[in-house]
Each structure stands twice: as structure tokens, then as C-alpha cells.
Subunit: 211 residues, 2 copies
């Protein structure tokens, strides 16, 4: 049984610049997941889980944008100080950080890439992370693989993640489940937390102690 | 036009433990890609590109295996000194490193994760990496995203990569193309190198200089 105090929900990129359909970086499925994300955040807080917001913020001149994304980004300069409010860095009001939440700026896809997220989580003895936000193929998946590589248990709340279309969403959830991420939906998370989730981290450690 | 001397082919995990169908970590499509991988390596060497082999090697007791993979891994202990030769760390003879090649041990999925690959490439002024090997959804894709995050141009040689089934292979190639990886096959690479590939790194840099 996983202790909620050893868990952190990491909400990724649920910002105007990825949600509003006027942004060149809008993800088609993202705005529909706002209620599910809010449900997960409320349940996490009431169960004593840590909450981390991993967000994007680009320089107005685009100098820190990934070269592979720059051509699209510059059609509006979302998530920077050079864009209109509807595609800025803000999260929707129902997802805005509470005072106990942790906020990190994530310069690339993975929430672990060039951030101090791993140190933040270790200082709080976090062993399990729960991923929500957007997009499933990019930031959720990259964060999932980095977290598994670092030895965390990883859960993904399926209906609180989103993709450019449903086929991409399904294929990416399937791949993450196949490699060892635990899948559940926001209603199960709100009702039962991670009661069904195996603790692979402890299973591995216990097997090593027997050697 | 991308200079071949600024390019490195990175061949990932084409080892007995991922290729032989007696290994619990065998990838169904991997052995069929050996000739395409050999074609890419030969073309790279004849064009003056660097070649990096990123390989796995686990401790015989499994203490360094990813917790999410440990349950499958221990059914044979592939890619360690505790397993039979048919699923050990060797590459097939046609893919074995030449004397000028670089070999790094990759402890996790991405060839950049907890390795000095980025430093190795920077010292050689490498700006473009060409990915081949297995598996497309795990190590190729994680390496692709890390390379894009680090500002490299990334090419993926489609028929020199492999997955557990064809649907997974297609979905992952599509996602990598969508985020900005350049796709080609081993025959085009052998005939024309990267002649069709855009240099997104230089395009971004040039746009910044105009600001």
C-alpha cells in the first residue's frame, strides 16, 4: 500500500498558451481535461499529497525555444511576455497553485530536464509521482520515462491528460502502461487514491535484500 | 546543407539480449533490422560521420535494473554476466564497433540519461544525430526527445529501428516526426546521406541573429 505522504501529483503545462485555441501551441484535447485535473488536485490536497506545477515560460525573443518548435512558436509567441493574455503562462483559475504547492519552470519537455524536481522530491521523501496535464506524447511521456529511470513509481491519470487527437492519446497511454506506468482515471483517484497501484520500487528493493 | 563531419550516428541497444528470441527482453522486430543498421553504419563511416554505440550492461544481481523492468528482467537476467551468451551484451558481428567508434554504457532508456554523451558530442562539434537501433518507443524515442531538448538536429532511420509490433512502430515514428525529427530510410541514407534534412538548429540561430 502506497502512503499518500510519499506521493506527489505533478501537473504539467496546463497554461493558457497550450489550452486556448488561438495559440499556435494549443493542444486540441487540453481544455476538456481542466475539470479532471481540478478533481485530481483537490483529491491530492485532501489526502496530504504534494502538488507540483511544472510550467513553461519562454523569453519574448524566442531565444530559449527548442529549435524544433521555434517555427510554430513564433506565430504568436505564446507562453512569453510578448503574447496576448489568452495564450500567456497562466493556468486556468481552477488549476491555479495553492500556497503549499511547488511551482517549477520547465524549459523543455520532461519536468526533470534541467530542473531541480528530483532534488525537490527527494527532500520530501517522495517515491511515487502522479502525472496529469498536457501533452501526453511530449511532456507527460518524457516526464514518465525520466521518473521511471530515476526509480520512482509512476501513475498517469488518463482522463487528466491530452493529445492532438484520440489515436495519439491511446497509443501513448498504451506505451506508458507497457513500460510500467500505472493507469487510472480521475474518478478512481478521487475515490480510492492509489489503492490498486503496485509499489514496484519497494518490490525491487525487497528482492535485492533477499539476495 | 548539413556537413557530415558535424553528424553522429548513435546505434542503441542492438545487443544479443534485445535481439535473441530466447531473451525475456527480446524486441520482436529487432533482428530483422540488423542489415539496415549495418547499411547505416557503413555509410556513416564512409562519409566521415562519428559512430556511437550506446549499450546496456546490467549487474548480475539486478540491483541496477529499472524497478519497472526488474520483474521481466529476472526471468533470465539478460545483458549481464549471469546470462547465457545468446542474450549477453554483445552486438551482432556486422554491427560490432570499429576502432574509431565510441562506446558508452547507457544505464537507462535515453542515451543521454546519466551518460556523458552530450559532452562527447560537443567536443567533436556534433550538431546532428542520427538514431538507429531498438526500441523505437523506449530508447530511440527518449534519446530523440533529449537530443531535441539539447538543441540537436535529430534524424531517425525508420527501417533501422524496431518495436514490439508494427502499430507501435508507426505511432512512435509519427510522434517523433510531428515534434521535429527528420525521417528517412537506410537506402536514402546510404545513397544521399542527409541531403534532404533541414538544419533547424541553424535556422533558429539565424533568426535570433536578425532580432
Amino acid at each position: 500500500m502506497i502512503d499518500p505522504r510519499s506521493c506527489a501529483v505533478v501537473i504539467i503545462d496546463m497554461q493558457n498558451g497550450f489550452i486556448d485555441d488561438r495559440s499556435p501551441l494549443c493542444i486540441a484535447g487540453a481544455s476538456a481535461t481542466v475539470p479532471a485535473c481540478a478533481r485530481v488536485l483537490a483529491a491530492a490536497r485532501s489526502n496530504g499529497m504534494a502538488v507540483v506545477h511544472a510550467v513553461r515560460s519562454y523569453a519574448a525573443d524566442g531565444s530559449d525555444v527548442e529549435p524544433c518548435r521555434y517555427g510554430v512558436w513564433k506565430q504568436g509567441r505564446p507562453l512569453s511576455q510578448a503574447c496576448p493574455a489568452y495564450m500567456n503562462t497562466d493556468e486556468p483559475p481552477s488549476l491555479a497553485p495553492c500556497s503549499d504547492d511547488i511551482v517549477i519552470v520547465k524549459p523543455r519537455f520532461s519536468a526533470f530536464f534541467a530542473t531541480d524536481l528530483h532534488d525537490i522530491l527527494r527532500r520530501r521523501d517522495i517515491e511515487t509521482i502522479v502525472l496529469i496535464g498536457t501533452t501526453t506524447p511530449n511532456c507527460i511521456r518524457s516526464s514518465c520515462y525520466d521518473a521511471l529511470s530515476l526509480g520512482y513509481n509512476v501513475a498517469v491519470v488518463e482522463d487528466a491528460t491530452s493529445s492532438r487527437n484520440e489515436a495519439v492519446q491511446r497509443a501513448n497511454l498504451e506505451d506508458m502502461a507497457f513500460i510500467g506506468a500505472f493507469m487510472l482515471d480521475s474518478y478512481e483517484f478521487a475515490d480510492r487514491g492509489l489503492a490498486r497501484m503496485p509499489d514496484m520500487r519497494q518490490m525491487h528493493a525487497a528482492d535485492m535484500e533477499r539476495c
